[in-house]
Subunit: 358 residues, 2 copies
């Protein structure tokens, strides 16, 4: 195995540590705090309108002069929905909304507006975003070309060797290897056989052996020990999400943070109940009720749109049974505090090691 | 985290490397080869009669004068089966057996004989087995006492922090932390919420922090890099199964070995189709057909008994669609060769490390 290219050589950062993009949790304050402390902050904008995307980028730039990454969802937005399944899920959700006194507006298959990453590229170019990361698929070659011509570095997300190879062939600068331990949405996009659920201990060395671009490890990392371990397995960097979930800059509600800090190693599961895509979160009432309903869960992002108002209500009222408590399998090992301190205490612990990995 | 007790201090071995018990694959030759080379061989006897258990132990002793472990299945053998579900599964399996010209003998719920670990304890005591490992549960206190009084070391299997804590409280000498990457049966026994599916990167450090006995890492380990990584995460030893699957001493058929060496990182899945208990194996025709049947899979070991003749036929005729191709998520990284060479090449690579872990 050749020594991996250092991530700090190809990205404008001091430490090869990436704050994972967590849509709904990551705030411009979080991204800026990580950037200001020398890590790579990631601003998630998946599925947002170009206007909202630009607003968030500008809000982040107002808080830091350091570079940061913007993270896209690159799934196809034109997936059809079965009208009968759409009706059945809406019937069921309308009942659930009513339980909380919330209005529910029924929609037909044509009443959904989904923004895709192609709608956001012009904003990324005009804002001269130095690092563009993405998940749920690939980028089309024309987009890769235009971003690269402007000097953007590209980071794709893989949950299998096959996905990593495909991303490397497309010309990304680095690949995130997302182990099954990771919280939030699986980045999987080649799911013809089944959803890849490979543990990081198996995934990382196999991905690192398969591609020549730097590999960034993600999933279950929470301290100097786990970070050091993945460097030994061929990682050139790490991406941590749950580690920053309970931080001061996190947008998670107080109840969500509390749930994360109390989650055990087996508290989470993979579910499609909230969004229609597989994601890891702490088991709660909504997941259980969708499962008990026996209904077909709609494809992403139909399911996501229909549950959005309920999740927002749950977030506002600290009702953990209504919100997606995305979290990884080591989430309980995370800590409260400012992101800067969380990042730098990790860096310090790694630097104190007799054989520092960076 | 206190430095873990060295496994070589409490077990009669030179290297803290355990060959995982693989029922149907592990032979007395394999166990003896590992023992003779300085590792801990594990002879699987789960569910076997006392006579067969004694025969296998003596066959192994005839091949080595070194100590080895005997591995028990410690599930309760008195689980009831739903008569209607038993009928339906037998109807379906009778059709499948007929496709291969195999006779199928229908049985009633009372026609099954299952041996449990309690039936085997007398043999273990009279054979003075120095290390008794077990999976699928705990051992009852009287059995623990009698084995310990004779000087046996006990190793339990955990797939969650809760299981590890329970085993440690019962007085085991070491705990195997089995990550979701591992091939073969999940050792899980506290499944009231859901089957634990924790990746080793998340499971191991949390287990190591929770118990004071040495922790043995299992799942996805296949080389010096992965072994070194888990020592850094708090392991005092490792248990490798797939690594020895294609070895000369393995009882796997030629077709099974070939399938293992060609398995990709996503080739395996967890299934109950073969035995009634969750286990990781390479996807094949039998799994797919059981799934398509929509039938309720019978509890362990009813399902296991009913599929036994079909699996034996598949093993004899190299039909990989009929046999349980148990394998972990890094199984393709294993190699052919004598077990002694596989073990010692791993030891050599670890010892050549500038910071050897043992």
């Amino acid at each position: 195995m050749p020594a991996p290219v250092s991530l700090t050589e190809i990205l404008p950062i001091d430490y090869p540590i990436i704050q994972a993009p967590m849509l709904g949790v990551t705030t411009p304050d979080m991204v800026a705090a990580i950037a200001n402390a020398g890590g790579l902050g990631s601003l998630p904008v998946g599925g947002l309108s170009p206007e909202k995307t630009a607003d968030l980028i500008r809000a982040t730039k107002a808080r830091t002069r350091k570079p940061f990454a913007v993270n896209l969802f690159t799934h196809e937005t034109t997936l059809p929905v079965d009208p009968a399944e759409l009706d059945a899920m809406q019937d069921w959700l309308a009942g659930l909304y009513a339980e909380y006194g919330l209005p529910f507006e029924r929609r037909g298959p044509a009443d959904f507006t989904f923004y895709g990453y192609r709608d956001q590229v012009a904003v990324l170019l005009s804002e001269r975003i130095p690092v563009v990361s993405f998940t749920f698929g690939t980028l089309e070659p024309a987009v890769i070309d235009s971003l690269k011509r402007q000097g953007s570095r590209l980071i794709g997300t893989a949950t299998s060797v096959r996905e990593a190879r495909l991303l490397a062939e497309l010309g990304v600068d680095a690949v995130v290897a997302q182990g099954v331990e990771a919280g939030g949405h699986r980045g999987s996009f080649l799911t013809d056989e089944a959803l890849p659920q490979v543990g990081l201990m198996a995934l990382l060395p196999q991905v690192a052996a398969a591609v020549s671009v730097p590999v960034i490890a993600a999933g279950g990392l929470f301290d100097a020990g786990t970070v050091k371990a993945v460097f030994g397995l061929g990682a050139a960097g790490v991406q941590l999400g749950s580690y920053f979930l309970a931080s001061d800059e996190s947008g998670a509600s107080a109840a969500y943070k509390e749930a994360v800090l109390n989650a055990g190693d087996t508290a989470t599961t993979l579910t499609r109940a909230f969004s229609g895509r597989w994601a890891r979160g702490i088991r709660n009432g909504f997941m259980a009720r969708v499962e008990q309903s026996g209904l077909a869960i709609l494809p992403y992002t139909y399911q996501n749109s229909l549950t959005a108002a309920l999740r927002a209500y749950g977030q506002q009222h600290n009702l953990t049974d209504l919100i997606a408590l995305w979290a990884g399998q080591s989430a309980s090992q995370s800590r409260r505090g400012p992101c800067r301190q969380l990042l730098l205490s990790l860096v310090d612990a790694l630097r104190r090691d007799p054989e520092p990995v960076f």
